[in-house]
Amino acid sequence: MLNFLEKNLPKIVLAPTTIVMVICMYGFIVWTGLLSLTKSRMMPQWDFVGLDQYRRLFANPRWDVAVDNLFIFLILFIVIALVLGLLLAIFLDQKIRVEGAIRTIYLYPMAISFIVTGTAWKWILNPGLGIEKLMNDWGFVGFEFRWLVEQDMAIYTIVIAAVWQSSGFVMALFLAGLRGVDENLTKAARIDGASTIQLYWHVILPLMRPVFFSAIVILTHIAIKSFDLVQALTGGGPGYASDLPANFMYTFTFNRAQIGLGASSAMIMLFGVLAILIPYLYSELREKKS
């Protein structure tokens, strides 16, 4: 008996979590996949119509806008957050004074929920309330900054808010990485006569490769599941110009009584995430073997 427990205790302890995971994650993924093949409207119903919902999805102009926005948001958000986070980390790593305080300041936005970030930036970017009004009141009468209310530019305000929120977190990741760099390596490079820029570019940044990977994966899934930020900052507007796929999915599933269409958009989002995650997992697992 004791032997049995000793052998199987880990499995027994993990079993409930595993069951919940299997049902609530993979079970519902399968369920959503099946729903996306039905003509479900207000309630799930099981009249299968093949890929009809996907055809309707791709014919929907609002979905096009949401997907385009996701690419703009994904690329700009990841690149800018990475660059800013890396620069902040490198500057912080120069053994400066009050580093702890500064690090906390940059990391703090991460402690706020996206709803609060969105609401705050909504006020900051509102032409009649925020930056534009401030500049005008200070005497810069011609100053205009109204991305929030322009259909072409609204998506960039979401990038601004998301970068503000997340770059401190990226900084913390890189800072941890930089602290782990073997001092002998940097000393050796110095002795070989490398300048600071050369040192970072040729020695330290290549060592940061795992950090880049973690940061990119984390930022990607933050970007793809972004919903609350859009809801709070622009409400998807003006019109539906700043919709992201998650907002599209929610609107059509829950507000528009088109569960089938909503499910198909959710599946496309899942495929999007897998397209990024699978190559990453593959490369990670292969490295461990070698």
Binding site: M43, A59, N60, V149, G239, T251
Partner: protein, 428 residues
């Protein structure tokens, strides 16, 4: 759940209103089972609305029926609908829920709704309710829901001082609106107070459709979804007019709530707002009086017409007799003159039933009542598609998308029509 009719409160209630009497009589005559509580799902949580619901609660407790409040706030009822679906699927629906328009039919088709025809016949609803109202409340010819009010959506709320200052007059056609709005702008006012949220864009779009195209076109294109009527020169003209309005809205409008737009009219920053009669509550709260501080006129070109938006409670099938009795009492209360008067005074709308005294209502409500009767006779009483009275939520959503995308971009009128037609087809 509290069972058992309280005899004392039953007796008290006997002295109360006629409708309560009728309900209790029904209760006594049909069965000896005592009434249970009612659980009511709604999203009337703001000041005036909450007071209205509370009144219903008091009326019911007078009739010995307890009230379990099931308020789910937010998002114009979207959150509430999500909760309702999960409750209904799990076999535990509330007694009644705030559902309106074609959604009542969708729920009815799924077989969730209760037949309250007994109460309706006992209280003569067929004669109390105008046909347009009772049609919405019936599923397969049986009453399944009770209406609480009728909103008129095609209102224009204006500040007469602003118009006087700018030397403009309140317009009655859309062509005239463009002329007068230019004058307002020249005098430094915002001509059209507007909140750039999809449903508000759709509300203005709907007013333009009715004002430019008339009731026949409105019914054909946006109720019957006739593709020839939708893809026509009239629709093009509608989009041109709607597009002309872009210039009269201020830059800060995207995302603005409707009541903030109303306060621009109240404070004299803007000339007019196109909004349903719930806007009246904002003027009242601000202590303004109708006629001098603000005027209500029909949206341009729609003076004889009436775009209606009816709020109602749909009743869900109950598993036990006691709950069914409570449900019947509630249904009878809702159509009572007391409740209809108090509720609608709070809400700014007009009673859904006939035979309610007009005395306590203001001139805007009188206008709305007159328009309701006359429009009903002339065939220009139309359901509001911006508020989910005319189309399924899928098609209604497609129209809202097209309207809001057009209004917020520099899309040409022809492209606007093309997108509207395509997206309606896709959603049908």
């Amino acid at each position: 759940m509290m069972g058992g009719v309280n005899i004392i409160s039953m007796e008290k209630n006997m002295k109360n209103t006629i409708s309560t009497l009728a309900a209790t009589a029904l209760l006594a005559s049909t069965t000896s089972v005592s009434a249970a509580d009612v659980e009511v799902l709604h999203w009337w949580t703001s000041g005036g609305e909450a007071a209205s619901v509370n009144y219903l609660k008091e009326k019911l407790s007078g009739a010995g029926v307890g009230w379990t409040d099931f308020a789910v706030a937010g998002g114009g009822g979207e959150n509430a609908m999500t909760v309702l679906k999960s409750r209904a699927i799990s076999g535990n629906p509330p007694t009644a829920a705030q559902i309106k328009g074609p959604s009542i039919q969708e729920w009815g088709d799924l077989g969730f709704l209760a037949d309250i025809d007994g109460v309706a016949q006992a209280n003569d609803w067929d004669n109390l309710l105008p046909a347009v109202v009772s049609d919405v409340m019936k599923h397969n010819g049986k009453y399944v829901a009770a209406p609480v009010n009728v909103h008129r959506v095609n209102w224009m709320w204006s500040n007469p001082e602003v118009y006087a200052y700018a030397g403009a007059t309140i317009p009655t056609t859309w062509d005239d609106f463009m002329v007068q709005a230019k004058k307002l702008q020249a005098a430094g006012f915002v001509a059209l107070a507007h909140g750039g949220q999809p449903w508000q864009d759709a509300t203005v779009f709907e007013a333009v459709v009715l004002g430019v195209g008339g009731a026949d076109y409105y019914n054909k294109a946006f109720v019957d979804l006739d593709m020839d009527a939708l893809d026509s020169a009239t629709t093009l003209k509608v989009f041109e007019t709607f597009g002309n309005l872009r210039q009269f809205v201020d830059a800060n409008s995207p995302g603005r709530d409707w009541n903030v737009a109303t306060s621009m009219v109240i404070e004299g920053k803007a000339g007019s707002q196109i909004m349903g009669d719930w806007a009246k509550g904002e003027f009242k709260v601000a202590g303004k009086s109708v006629g001098t501080d603000y005027v209500c006129t029909a949206a341009p070109g729609t003076s004889g017409a009436h775009t209606f938006n009816i709020d109602s409670f749909a009743f869900f099938a109950q598993s036990d007799a006691a709950s069914t009795e409570a449900q019947n009492i509630m249904a009878a209360e809702i159509l009572g003159t007391d409740f209809q008067t108090v509720f609608n005074l709070n809400k700014g709308s007009i009673p859904a039933r006939l035979g309610v005294s007009r005395a306590e209502f203001d001139t805007c409500a009188h206008d709305s009542m007159d328009a309701f009767v006359s429009a009903s006779a002339s065939g220009s009483l139309v359901p509001s598609f911006a508020h989910g009275m005319a189309m399924s939520s899928a098609v209604g959503g497609a129209v809202t998308d097209s309207a809001t995308n057009f209004f917020n971009s520099d899309q040409s009128a022809a492209d606007g029509v093309a997108q509207l037609v395509a997206s309606i087809k896709a959603a049908m």
